[in-house]
């Protein structure tokens, strides 16, 4: 082993820079030990401990740099000194500006950094409230896409929002459109002066698409979450949304879409609506005689705009009645259809009549059933049926194996966020179903606009080519079935025993 010691006079390096330089040198092959340090008393003692002779360092000051290297050969030591020099040199080279891209570990901090006016949350339900609360405390409106937020948390979040004059959209708010930007499941709509407040995402989609088809554009869609108009929440977000839209100069008309609300909440909301300057059309889907197509027509009428008859294309197959099975991806579309058919042809069973709604159990039913496949009980552990229609295809394949012919009713929902080709996804199963029985029939309602990425015409073509009846209006599709059932089956008195 060779020992090499050199002194560099009157230079200064930070001790940490030198620690690092030393440890880099020690890692070189053939270098046994080294010390690169300012010549302080402590370091000179260290130098002696490493076996370097003391007289070499008699005449030093703390502004001198000691370089002591112990290595296998002169050549190795020489190379080490070169490495050291280039390391020390690089310390003096200016670096580029620090990276300004920053990680945000909580939504509140992201909101602060972006000076955001909207925070969107799609986290697992139990972890939503802290992020939402932080965003509200930062003064930002919140959209909660997630479900699984407790009603108590929803109450507290909405109280917090109200105290800061902010809006909470959701929980379980799947659809919104603000400033022309679609949030969640939303269609490509032409701009206009009608705004929608909706406790129902697919309801808002269907209404806005019907209006769009009649040349009536949309300003904003504000989702409030399915529970907002229950008496437990009291319509907190609905009231706030109505206030916001009333003061919005680009909103001339407001549509309010919900399942039938709690009694107290109805009174509260009606009181507010009377105090607004902007006219409001209310559509409580699930109440007898109310459907989205009627709401759309009413809006057109109040604005003195024409509303054409919704499009439909029939396969020509004769209506022969049979057992109805409705497989919906949109919850409001399912309840709208169930209400219309019940009004005319008698009770329809829903998902709550199943112990476990497996494809097999669903196909085995002998009564008329309409199911919301987006219901929490159906979406556990799988994506929403608007994104992934696998479950619906499975049920249709089960139906194909049954001896009795069925009347199949379903929806196809287009737009941002939805499956890129929902009709194509179901086509194979549907083809098998329609071929299995001469009397099997399939009726579809298609929600979408001509600008939606899936292609409205193409989706219609796929379905009509298979032999489906296709409707632009979900209510009209349901009415046609109701009439068929009444004509051919008669009015049923009770649901599944």
């Amino acid at each position: 082993m060779l020992k090499h010691l050199e002194l560099r006079r009157d230079v200064y390096y930070d001790s940490v820079v030198l620690f690092q330089a030393s440890s880099q040198l020690r890692e070189l092959d053939g270098i046994d030990e080294c010390l690169v340090a300012m010549a302080t008393e402590l370091n000179i003692r260290l130098l002696h401990d490493l076996g370097f002779k003391s007289e070499d360092t008699d005449d030093t000051s703390t502004s001198d740099l000691i370089i002591a290297v112990q290595g296998e050969s002169q050549e190795i030591i020489g190379r080490a000194i070169q490495v050291l020099d280039s390391n020390l040199e690089s310390q003096a080279t200016p670096r580029s500006e620090p990276d300004s891209t920053q990680i945000h570990r909580s939504l509140g901090r992201a909101v602060r950094a972006a000076n955001a006016n909207l925070a969107i949350i799609s986290l697992p339900g139990p972890h939503v409230a802290p992020e939402a609360a932080d965003a509200l405390r930062e003064g930002t409106n919140v959209m909660i896409f997630s479900d699984g937020v407790s009603i108590k948390e929803e109450q507290k979040l909405k109280a917090l929002a109200t105290s800061h004059d902010l809006l909470v959209m959701g929980p379980d708010c799947g659809t919104a459109q603000l400033s022309g930007v679609g949030l969640g499941f939303c269609n490509d709509l032409s701009p206009g002066q009608v705004s929608i407040v909706a406790a129902s995402g697919t309801g808002a989609q269907h209404l806005s698409c019907l209006l769009d088809a009649n040349g009536i554009g949309i300003s904003s869609i504000i989702g409030v979450g399915g529970r907002d108009m229950s008496d437990e929440i009291g319509g907190s977000s609905t009231l706030q949304a109505l206030r916001i839209l009333d003061s919005d100069t680009s909103t001339a008309h407001i549509a309010l879409i919900s399942k039938p609300p709690g009694k107290k909440t109805v009174r509260r909301i009606n009181k507010i609506i009377k105090s607004l300057d902007t006219p409001v059309t209310i559509g409580l889907i699930g109440d007898p005689g109310v459907d989205l197509t009627k709401v759309a027509r009413e809006i057109a009428t109040t604005q003195n705009l024409p509303f054409r008859k919704p499009r439909l294309k029939l396969s020509g197959a004769p209506a022969t009645g049979g057992q109805l099975i409705g497989l919906f991806s949109g919850g409001t579309l399912a309840s709208e259809a169930a209400q219309i058919i019940t009004d005319t042809a008698g009770p329809i069973a829903g998902i709550d009549t199943f112990e476990i709604p497996t494809p097999q159990a669903i196909a085995d039913r002998k009564d008329n059933v309409i199911l919301d496949l987006g219901d929490d009980r159906m979406t556990m552990g799988r994506p929403h049926p608007m994104i992934d229609g696998t479950l619906r295809c499975k049920i249709i394949k089960e139906l194909t194996l049954k001896p009795a012919p069925r009347l199949l009713l379903f929806d196809i929902i287009l737009g941002f966020g939805s499956n890129p080709d929902p009709a194509g996804e179901i086509a194979n199963a549907l083809d098998g179903f329609l071929r299995s029985h001469s009397k099997a029939r399939a009726i579809a309602s298609v929600v979408g606009t001509s600008r939606d990425p899936q292609g409205l015409d193409q989706q219609w073509q796929t379905l009509t080519a298979l032999g489906c009846d296709v409707y632009e209006s979900n209510a009209e599709a349901a009415s046609a079935i109701a009439l068929d059932l009444l004509t051919n089956n008669g009015k049923s008195e009770s649901t599944h025993a």
Binding site: S106, I120, S195
Partner: protein
């Protein structure tokens, strides 16, 4: 001002699934995204939710933050530990949360033996060990007596201590005088050289310092901390500027003392030869600030982080004197020449009071030089400080960071935010040798165990039930 959600351009921040972000990007509305994590213990979700939704917790934490940042610590003199913290014969203080002698690590053991020898010159190391073993000598955390100690943090009754007073609350905190580098008691050394130096500190340095301090006005310590942050210190692992500023503050009064000039010169050069002299002033100054934020019902703010070489412990403002502990990690960093990773002792010392009050690792952006301890770049220094804003409730009004456009340092660690983000505080530290008496073997960063924070939050949830129902 009415809510302008529908009338202004959207500026969106998101937390959650990618498809939501992708859909926004497709519509040319670029969201600011959150790098969200499940909580460190997902079963804490209900209490984390209750905390975040509570206005009362928010105001309790604001109050804690106000206390943390409004303290104005002054150095007013020096007194013995016997007087300052009422230390009884046979009782010794140590860094970190409470610990039994049997579980102490090498450096703490060595320091306790050294302190026992200092107080009892006729005793032998073996005799001292027996006295600790059989409980004749008692040990207790510095934190329980309003004191803090670096590394082993051992304090015995004859040791002189800096007396720091908060001009706002008249509260006091105490710390010993820093012994310098190399073989020193705080790293567990107890040879004659160590004891002799402690005696010199007691007989020469302490009286001179006391007289110097009392010759002028009380020395405002937070002014020095603020200035040191502008001069490349982060005031935990680097105290070169702080020590220099302190010496400048006392220098003229020191040399005017009517004392032997050899003694004055010895004191002067003792301080100049030890960059960490100011650490023992910064620490009690921080302790004063942290103590003023204690015992605020409902607050989730951390008021102490400390290590005894075996356990890392934290205390929250809203959970009184309870310590929440987890195993100390071995710091990651740069080792001095001649030492390897096997020489390093698990994390040690009360000096994490620095991070508790918004300096140290939290002010890393101010001290790019020492980011090299962890093999990093000055970019990493900025990123480290920035990360700490995500787990703190405020920014320090006095401690400003030039590289972040003079933004205040992140201060007020919220245990709830730590659990929610899984981001533990960045803690700078010296690395002690594992063998008693070896001394400092390096410096680096250490990760506090997340268990402390999980346990603290769980306990907070249990003891705060009544408080929540009445708020």
């Amino acid at each position: 001002m009415p809510n302008s959600l529908v009338s202004s351009e959207l500026r969106i921040a998101t937390a959650g699934i990618d498809p939501i972000d992708d859909a926004l990007i497709n519509q040319s509305s670029i969201p600011t995204t959150t790098q969200w994590n499940l909580p460190s213990d997902p079963s804490l979700a209900p209490i984390l939710s209750t905390i975040a939704l509570s206005d009362a917790v928010t105001s309790a934490n604001e109050k804690a933050l106000a206390c943390l940042t409004s303290a104005r610590p002054h150095l007013i003199g020096i007194d013995t530990a016997a007087n300052a913290v009422g230390l009884e014969k046979g009782t010794f203080l140590h860094a970190g949360p409470p610990i039994e002698w049997e579980r102490t690590s090498g450096p703490l053991r060595g320091a306790l033996i050294g302190a026992a020898l200092l107080e009892n010159p006729d005793e032998t190391p073996e005799g001292a060990i027996r006295l600790f073993e059989n409980g004749k000598f008692k040990i207790e955390p510095c934190h329980h007596r309003g004191a803090v100690g670096p590394m082993a943090g051992v304090i015995s009754r004859s040791m002189p201590m800096f007396v720091i007073e908060d001009s706002i609350t008249d509260r006091r905190a105490y710390c010993t005088l820093n012994e310098g580098l190399g073989k020193v008691l705080r790293f567990g050394a107890y040879s004659k050289e160590v004891i002799d130096r402690l005696k010199w500190i007691e007989k020469v340095l302490a009286p001179i310092m006391h007289e110097t301090i009392n010759t002028g006005d009380p020395i405002e310590l937070y002014t020095i901390v603020s200035e040191a942050l502008q001069m490349g210190d982060e005031c935990h692992n680097r105290n070169r500027a702080g020590t220099s500023l302190f010496l400048r503050a006392i220098g003229s009064n020191l040399i005017k003392l009517k004392r032997p000039s050899s003694d004055l010169a010895a004191c002067f050069s003792f301080i100049t030869s030890n960059d960490h002299f100011f650490l023992n002033l910064m620490m009690p100054a921080g302790k004063l600030a942290a103590d003023s934020a204690r015992d605020i019902p409902g607050s989730t703010i951390v008021v102490a982080m400390a290590r005894n070489g075996t356990d890392f412990g934290i205390q929250l403002s809203g959970t009184g004197d309870e310590w929440f502990t987890g195993p100390c990690a071995v710091p990651k960093g740069l080792l001095f020449p001649g030492y390897g990773p096997e020489d390093a002792n698990p994390d040690l010392g009360d000096s994490t009071i620095a991070e508790t009050v918004g300096v140290g690792g939290f002010a890393m952006a101010a001290a790019p030089a020492i980011v090299k301890f962890v093999g990093g770049t000055s970019d990493l220094a900025l990123a480290s400080t920035r990360a700490m804003y995500d787990i703190t409730v405020g920014e320090h009004p006095l401690f400003r960071l030039p590289p972040l456009n003079f933004r205040g340092t992140p201060v007020g660690i919220d245990a709830a935010l730590v659990c929610r983000t899984r981001q533990v505080p960045f803690v700078n530290t010296g690395i002690a040798g594992k063998q008693a008496g070896v001394g400092q073997v390096g410096a680096g960063l250490v990760e506090p165990p997340i268990k402390c924070f999980n346990d603290a939050l769980r306990h907070y949830g249990e003891v705060s039930k009544d408080w929540f129902s009445s708020h």
